[in-house]
């Protein structure tokens, strides 16, 4: 599972922020900010990706570099944030449909 997450995260960062360049040089503990990979919009793009792809809810207080600033930090963060179970996700969608 972690392997797959890592692959998906790397691919996303390489496509979306590096536009396909220098992927092989990107280390898992490289800081996105120090390497200039991410800017203020980048954080928001990343959050949208995490929520969509891994079905986690990124709370406001989670928006800190310790959670989001490298592939390793992201992996740890995702591990910590148990992905919502499928049934929960389903209920959420149902709930939305009802309120709509």
């Amino acid at each position: 599972m972690e392997r797959q997450y890592e692959r998906e995260l790397r691919q996303y960062v390489i496509d979306n922020f590096l536009f396909g360049q220098g992927g092989s040089e990107l280390k898992n503990d490289d800081s996105f900010m120090e390497r200039g990979i991410i800017d203020s919009t980048g954080v928001l793009e990343l959050v949208a990706f995490l929520e969509e792809k891994f079905q986690v809810k990124v709370e406001d207080e989670d928006l800190i570099p310790a959670n989001l600033d490298s592939i390793n930090n992201l992996l740890l963060y995702l591990k910590k944030k148990q992905p919502l179970k499928k049934s929960n996700a389903f209920i959420r969608i149902e709930g939305l449909a009802e309120s709509a």
């Binding site: 496509d15 919009t41 954080v43 570099p65």
Partner: protein, 651 residues
């Protein structure tokens, strides 16, 4: 307002008139009313005229009484009436009522120093037959353009680069060092232009070609040393208003009607109010409105217009429009741009022209001279925070700075701190204020091809700039240093050219800028920074100076930078398809590969991201516009012969 052109053959051969005719033809849009030529053996001048002062008598090139001094001139000398009276008293005889003739006689009287007496916006060349001397000058702040090329045995000059490139056999090649500068500072550092072998005469400089030698000299500098800390607020406000009023008054001198741009912001409202104050005639004002609410300011425009009772006209601009006119816009900017903001101004000058107007006054220059830009405020906050880096509260001021940027509003304090991090070495940098902007822009160089990257290896654009700083720069306070960088580089290289002269003149419209009257500029540089930006209240002294001449709502509104939709103009929001054929073609893998400047794979990833609607950040948008405009420059100026276009329309 016009287009000028000239050739000097240093081998002594006679200049060919047909050649001058071909070259000046490229400047038809700058001067559709008349064309004139003057040839004296190895020196040839041409002129394309837009008649504004002395409609019947002002034809050019023009000469003095005994035809030994000739001029080709683009611009306006606003104090020509006062200068003319002085010169008549000294015994000069005038044949016309034009401002052009004033320069000729003033040159006879003062020589190259004549420029010190001029209040205006100009680019001119004088041929002094007796001395065998060619003298050229450009106004203090670079309102009017002047380019030149010094190649083996020949000096060419002209108002726009396209006229020079029309000279047969002249190299048409992108200067990669210039590209490196532009993808950092948004401008090339004069005299460098984006084309190899073509230079720009820097603002406030003169050029002399005499006995085979070309010398370039600065005749004016801005200085912040004289900042007078004891100046009271009342004194500053009163003097500023007095100078601005006179600057506006002399800029209304014209033999054709004068209108004004009214953007809904403070500066253009101030100028419109001052016009109303000094003139009784009905005033036409012009503005852009956007379909996209994010950019639209029509509410404030209507408010200002009804408060000042102007006859207001608006052009509505859609994302489709921007994409449609963009190739024409780049044909006129003659350099890559990173924002689409010039495009709506291209449409606006078209509206002005259709309304029968040739001249408009605008609020340009106020933000630079009186401290209006966000970059000044951002630097102030970063400095305040840098003094106490552990503060949790200070970085939150950054949110107050950018109320219109959702990305910033959504950031946690931890990230805000990380993004605007004030490094110790940054605080010591002469470019402290501009580092965030320039570092962000430099990221776009990741799109350069491997060849370009290796060509630029070891090049240091910051050093290019450091070498140009005046010796007293390090003695100025940070606020003044930031003002200097904006005034010397972004103002002439982007605001007055790509957004200014080139967009207005594309439709034969002349802009005039009271805030750039050199008396206003010199006085503004002596106002203490604390009065320009009081705490975080930008242009405080201007707001005090104009009092109730402008509506309170305009004075109190948060400053909104003028921006236009970017990627959305080229890739449809709903359909996510590329909207215009030229975009598809110029950004195709084949084309990018062939032109060699960018990396085809990287560009494709950016297009994919844009198509998915995910390219929402400033950086992605700047990259898209920068790449597309560079490709348009290569397509229109390098790959195709100049003259492939007629009258500004792509063939």
């Amino acid at each position: 307002m016009c287009g000028i052109l000239g050739v000097q053959l240093l081998n002594g051969e006679r200049v060919d008139r047909t050649l001058l005719n071909t070259m000046i033809g490229q400047l038809h849009h700058r001067g559709p009313d008349a064309t004139g030529f003057y040839i004296d053996g190895p020196v040839g001048f041409a002129h394309a005229r837009l008649s504004i002062i002395d409609l019947s008598g002002g034809h050019q090139p023009m000469h003095n009484e005994d035809q030994t001094v000739w001029i080709t001139f683009n611009g306006e000398i606003f104090n020509y009436i006062e200068l003319r009276n002085d010169l008549i008293q000294k015994g000069h005889r005038f044949r016309t009522q034009s401002d052009t003739e004033v320069i000729i006689h003033l040159y006879e009287e003062k020589g190259e120093d004549c420029v010190q007496y001029l209040n205006g916006q100009w680019a001119f060349a004088i041929w002094d037959k007796k001395r065998d001397k060619l003298f050229m000058s450009r106004d203090r702040l670079g309102v009017r353009p002047l380019f030149y090329s010094l190649t083996a045995g020949m000096l060419l000059f002209g108002s726009e680069i396209k006229a020079l490139l029309a000279y047969p056999g002249l190299t048409r090649e992108i200067d990669l060092q210039a590209l490196d500068q532009l993808f950092t500072f948004w401008v090339t550092l004069p005299p460098r232009t984006i084309f190899k072998g073509i230079s720009e005469l820097p603002p406030g400089h003169s050029l002399v070609s005499e006995r085979g030698q070309v010398t370039i000299r600065s005749y004016w500098n801005i200085d912040y040393n004289s900042s007078n800390d004891s100046m009271s607020e009342q004194e500053a406000a009163a003097t500023l208003l007095e100078l601005l009023t006179d600057a506006t008054k002399i800029r209304l001198r014209s033999d054709v009607p004068v209108g004004a741009y009214l953007s809904g912001g403070l500066d253009s409202t101030v100028i419109t109010a001052l016009i109303k104050k000094v003139s009784v005639s009905r005033l036409k004002t012009f503005s852009i409105s956007f379909e996209d609410k994010e950019f639209d300011e029509s509410g404030f425009q209507q408010e200002a217009s009804s408060f000042l009772q102007t006859d207001h006209h608006t052009v509505r601009c859609s994302t489709q429009d921007i994409g449609r006119v963009f190739p024409d816009v780049i044909w006129h900017t003659e350099k890559p741009i990173l924002r689409t903001a010039p495009a709506p101004l291209f449409l606006l000058s078209k509206l002005v022209r259709e309304q029968g107007y040739k001249v408009v006054l605008t609020g340009e220059g106020s933000d630079e001279m009186l401290g209006g830009y966000d970059i000044f405020k951002e630097a102030k906050i970063r400095k305040f925070w840098g003094a106490f880096p552990e503060s949790k509260i200070r970085p939150l001021l950054l949110k107050r700075l950018y109320p219109y940027l959702e990305n910033i509003q959504a950031q946690s304090p931890a990230y805000l701190k990380a993004f605007f991090h004030v490094r110790r070495e940054d605080q010591l940098s002469p470019f402290f204020s501009h580092l965030p902007r320039w570092e962000l822009t430099s990221k776009l160089k990741m799109f350069f091809s491997e060849d370009v990257k290796s060509e630029l290896k070891g090049s240091d654009v910051y050093n290019d700039l450091r070498e140009r700083l005046p010796s007293n720069y390090s003695k100025w306070d940070g606020f003044s240093q930031a003002q200097f960088l904006e005034t010397m580089y972004l103002l002439p290289g982007y605001i007055l050219s790509s957004q200014g002269d080139r967009m207005a003149m594309a439709h034969s419209v002349e802009g005039r800028f009271p805030f750039l009257d050199h008396r206003v500029v010199e006085f503004a540089s002596s106002i203490p920074p604390a009065l320009k930006m009081k705490v975080l209240n930008e242009k405080y002294i201007l707001k005090q100076a104009v009092g109730d001449l402008v509506p309170v709502s305009i004075k109190k509104r948060p400053k909104q930078p003028y921006r236009a939709p970017e990627i959305k103009s080229f890739i449809g929001e709903d359909t996510n398809v590329v909207r215009h054929e030229y975009v598809e073609e110029l950004l195709s893998t084949d084309r990018i590969q062939k032109d060699g400047i960018f990396n085809p794979g990287t560009v494709q990833k950016l297009i994919e991201k844009s198509r998915k609607g995910r390219a929402i950040g400033i950086k992605d948008n700047m990259a898209f516009v920068g790449i597309l405009s560079t490709q348009l420059i290569v397509d229109q100026f390098v790959n195709r012969p100049i003259g492939g276009r007629q009258n500004g329309t792509a063939v």
